[in-house]
């Protein structure tokens, strides 16, 4: 393991890539701490201190998690990666609805590039919308729980400057992510999210240590480690369906005749269902706030059952949404009929099952059964931090570093990045990180 680490750093090509990635992450974190022009930095800090104590930050906890605390500080990169994620989700969903998008998706590389380009345009549009929303919320004082004076000079021109700067900041985050994907290691966008989540861990740990004492802190650490291990275990789990390829002669050479397997991951969908689910759950609250603070039955219902994360209805709804979206997303990304057709084309078959339609049916059967434990696992991990409200002592439990979305994302991104570094190492020698 250590020798592999040294090998990664001594290979000049790889070292350059790793250093480039670290540099971009540093620039991103730096930008996330520069306040937007026209925002009063001392006032924001003062308000943040008030909010940390209360339970009001719950609504934006997910977005704040993705931006690594930049959102509530109203920094120049306040929106972070969220508009891009939303845009990708929308485009992904539209491929099911709009025939033209579906055709583009099937077209291969060039079609995919076009879809990416659409995603980028949509990202900018969403960034303008979200920036306007956040700036107007901050200006009225509702963003940080009735704390006025964040933007001292609230002329229209001044507010417009902030919106434009935040939009440009989103574009920069997108560009940084793409640069990492191109010239660095791993997927840039997910690495930036990783960095924003990971930088909170020491602070949250201190929080627990100060609030609950060393014994609880040690317990939480052990528990967190156990969760990480179990997440890695499930993430790596896959069902291997044996596939036999027929021998065939092309010219004088013999091809095929090998037996391989088709891997079906237990958790095929990754963390995307969790993100979908939590985005949908905080929508009603957003609507209730936009309608106004009149305290009607709708608002009371939302407040008691949906916002309060320790409420049983919230937990139940969250798990149900995650299970639904897991099936939905696996249905979008894995097409058994296509896979069966491909196998038939190259002369492959699953032993005991005829090629063509029976194979597709078999794959569908296995997939829908293997996804059930996968989705249950996702749901359980995601609601786990909701039971720890008493330990952390703050309302921002989604930010709790040892459970829920944070661990899922960190483990997923970490595994992916290590695998990529390893495949780079493989080009030079056969020793890697993962045995």
């Amino acid at each position: 393991m250590l020798s592999a680490f040294r090998a990664a750093l001594t290979t000049p090509d790889l070292r350059k890539k790793i250093l480039f990635t670290l540099g971009v992450v540093a620039v991103y974190r730096l930008g996330a701490n520069i306040p937007s022009p026209g925002v009063s930095y001392p006032n924001v800090q003062e308000c943040l201190r008030q909010v940390e104590g209360s339970e009001n930050a719950g609504i934006y906890s997910l977005i704040n998690l993705f931006s690594g605390g930049a959102l509530l500080q109203l920094s120049i990169l306040a929106l972070g990666i969220m508009p891009y994620i939303t845009a990708s989700i929308i485009i992904q969903l539209l491929t099911v609805v709009i025939p033209r998008f579906e055709a583009l998706k099937k077209e291969g590389q060039s079609g995919q590039n076009k879809l990416t380009q659409y995603t980028r345009y949509l990202t900018i549009a969403l960034a303008i919308l979200q920036a306007t929303g956040i700036v107007s919320l901050a200006n009225s004082g509702a963003l940080l729980g009735n704390c006025p004076g964040i933007i001292p000079d609230d002329s229209v021109f001044n507010l417009a400057v902030i919106v434009i700067v935040m939009t440009a900041g989103t574009a920069i985050v997108m560009w940084l992510g793409e640069q990492v994907t191109e010239k660095g290691v791993g997927n840039g966008m997910s690495l930036l999210i990783f960095a924003s989540i990971a930088h909170r861990i020491p602070a949250e740990g201190m929080n627990i240590l100060n609030n609950a004492g060393p014994l609880v802190f040690a317990g939480v650490c052990v528990f967190g480690l156990a969760i990480i291990v179990s997440v890695v275990f499930v993430e790596q789990g896959q069902r291997r369906i044996p596939v036999q390829y027929a021998k065939r002669m092309v010219g004088r050479r013999m091809y095929g005749g090998t037996s391989t397997y088709l891997p079906l991951k237990v958790n095929q969908a990754g963390v995307i269902p969790v993100i979908f689910g939590s985005s949908l759950l905080y929508l009603p609250d957003l609507v209730a706030r936009l309608v106004g603070n009149d305290g009607g039955w709708f608002q009371q219902f939302v407040q008691t059952y949906l916002v309060d994360q320790s409420n049983w209805l919230h937990i139940l709804l969250y798990v149900a949404l995650i299970i639904f979206f897991t099936y939905f997303y696996v249905g979008i990304t894995f097409n058994p009929e296509e896979r069966a057709d491909e196998m038939k084309k190259f002369g492959g078959f699953i032993p005991g099952i005829r090629p063509g339609r029976p194979t597709a049916e078999y794959l569908n059967f296995v997939l829908s059964r293997i996804t059930l434990p996968g989705s249950l696992y996702l749901g359980i991990i995601a609601v786990l931090p909701n039971f720890f409200l008493g330990v952390t002592g703050s309302g921002q439990n989604q930010n709790f570093p040892f459970g829920g979305t944070a661990v899922l994302i960190m483990v997923g991104v970490g595994l992916d990045t290590v695998k990529q570094i390893e495949s780079q190492l493989m080009q030079r020698n056969y020793e890697g990180f993962l045995r």
Partner: protein, 78 residues
């Protein structure tokens, strides 16, 4: 003075967004986000892309400097 910097800020922001949109997207969308397949893009970037990179960096530098400038002016002046 602040007004001039703000105008510079607006112009550079708009320019930055346009320049970044001109780039070829390499994100790969959501499928490769959060643990997609391992893929390596072997194709290098073209000359046009490299010049675009340089222009983007230049604009970004102006953008950052003007942001810090406005921040300092607000703090010292007002």
């Amino acid at each position: 003075m602040v007004l001039a910097l703000q105008i510079v800020l607006i112009v550079s922001s708009v320019l930055l967004v346009l320049l970044i949109l001109l780039h070829r997207g390499r994100g790969g969308g959501l499928s490769s986000l959060f643990g997609g397949g391992v893929q390596s893009s072997l194709s290098g970037s073209s000359v046009a892309e490299k010049n675009l990179d340089r222009l983007t960096l230049f604009t970004a530098a102006i953008w950052v400097v003007s942001i810090i400038g406005t921040g300092l002016l607000v703090k010292v002046g007002a």
